[in-house]
């Protein structure tokens, strides 16, 4: 058994977990911490469903070792809304524009949208499409997703 203690914060809350070295961050979030908003889909870093923010930057938690998250500040989709459940404006926009169909790609896409708007508050459609090109929506609802993100630009 190759176990290690890992310390990190998730959505502002500190955690100490004991994990096997081969545990992926995705499984710690979903199975240990019960944060099932982060989705497992392709498992090989192609679809973007497992996107979370590590130290402010989006990464793929299905190909990220939990032990590599030592000391990291992690934000999942659960960390976007306020404690009382009030949604972040980009989440509201996804609802308003019907940018959610089956919903499986939504957490990853919302986090990518948030990341883009943090860095570039007024993105063009091209910039939006470039930023989310690694997040696949198999319902193919891209037009509504792009419109939702565009509506949040300042």
């Amino acid at each position: 058994m190759n176990k290690k203690v890992v310390n990190f914060t998730v959505n502002g809350e500190p955690h100490e977990v004991l994990v096997e070295t081969n545990t992926l961050l995705l499984h710690v979030l979903r199975d240990e911490l019960g944060l099932t908003g982060t989705k497992y889909s392709c498992g090989t870093g192609q679809c973007g469903s497992c996107t979370v923010l590590v130290n402010g930057e989006p990464i793929l938690s299905c190909i990220f070792l939990a032990v590599a998250a030592e000391g990291a500040d992690i934000v999942t989709i659960e960390g976007l809304s306020a404690p009382d459940g009030t949604l972040e404006s980009v989440q509201e926009a996804f609802l308003d524009f019907g940018a959610i169909q089956c919903g499986f790609c939504t957490p990853g896409l919302v986090l990518m949208a948030k990341d883009l708007l943090n860095k570039n508050p007024n993105p063009s459609e091209t910039e939006i499409r470039e930023h989310i090109k690694g997040n696949l929506c198999r319902c193919t609802g891209y037009v509504s997703i792009v419109r939702a993100i565009k509506s949040c630009s300042k």
Partner: protein, 296 residues
Amino acid sequence: MAVNTRILKPEFEYFVPKSLQEALQLIVQYGPEAKVIAGGTDLLVQMKQEVISPKYLINIMKIPEMQFIKKEKDWLRIGAATKWNEIVDFCAKNDKYTALYEASHSLGKIQVRNMGTIGGNLCTASPAADSAPAILALNGRVKLACLGRERTLDLEDFFKGVNVTALAPNEIMTEIQIPSIQKGTGSAFLKITRVGADISKISCAVAVERQGEICTSCQIVLGAVAPVPLKLKDANKTIGGKHVDSSLLDEVGRKVSEGIKPITDIRSTADYRRQVAAVLFKDVFWMAWKRAGEGE
């Protein structure tokens, strides 16, 4: 056979050295059963699919001396464990490294560029690695270190085959060096993929030296068309010292098509790759050529 992608089955011992010296000691201590892991975007996928099952993983991402970008008089030096998004940001501010910018900006997707490193992309040695054609066209070289010794190798001599490199089992790639960009030169990179964030069907980088309408020197490199990223020396020779016009480029385009050794695989056919190679080369050449002219 169904491929597992949910969990990472292989078990391994995990090390996080704080210095290059410590990492080199670990790799000697654990030998061929140890693997260096940087971003893990290739390695962990291969491990999930049980293509490889190393017993020891040595994470080099906590070694500050391996993460840097330094612009010096003669060389641009990039630490092997530098993440792609840092290179994209650097190139966006230093507009002369256009081929490197276009290659790094098109590599994978944002999430992958936040994890993956330049050294990882080269050491995985995929024939389709996006950074390789650009760095080869810019005549880059790599620094490899083992305990008590280091050597510098032209990147061209580093690639030995599909996923095979000149890296010895006790060595770690520490640095990538690209010669400073001179006046009257230009470079470009383009790739063809099926969807947005995808592995290249074929890629091409060109770097040229220009004096008026004469191309004094040219480096043409194609990716995903042979077991290793390919420098097309015959084509380079044909163009060097000549007056550039479209008939010359047609001739060189034919040489590019003939010079590559493509295969048919899940991404494309050999035939398609041969046909498109000539067209892609010409597009990339004109981009590089125009840029070389702007500096004059």
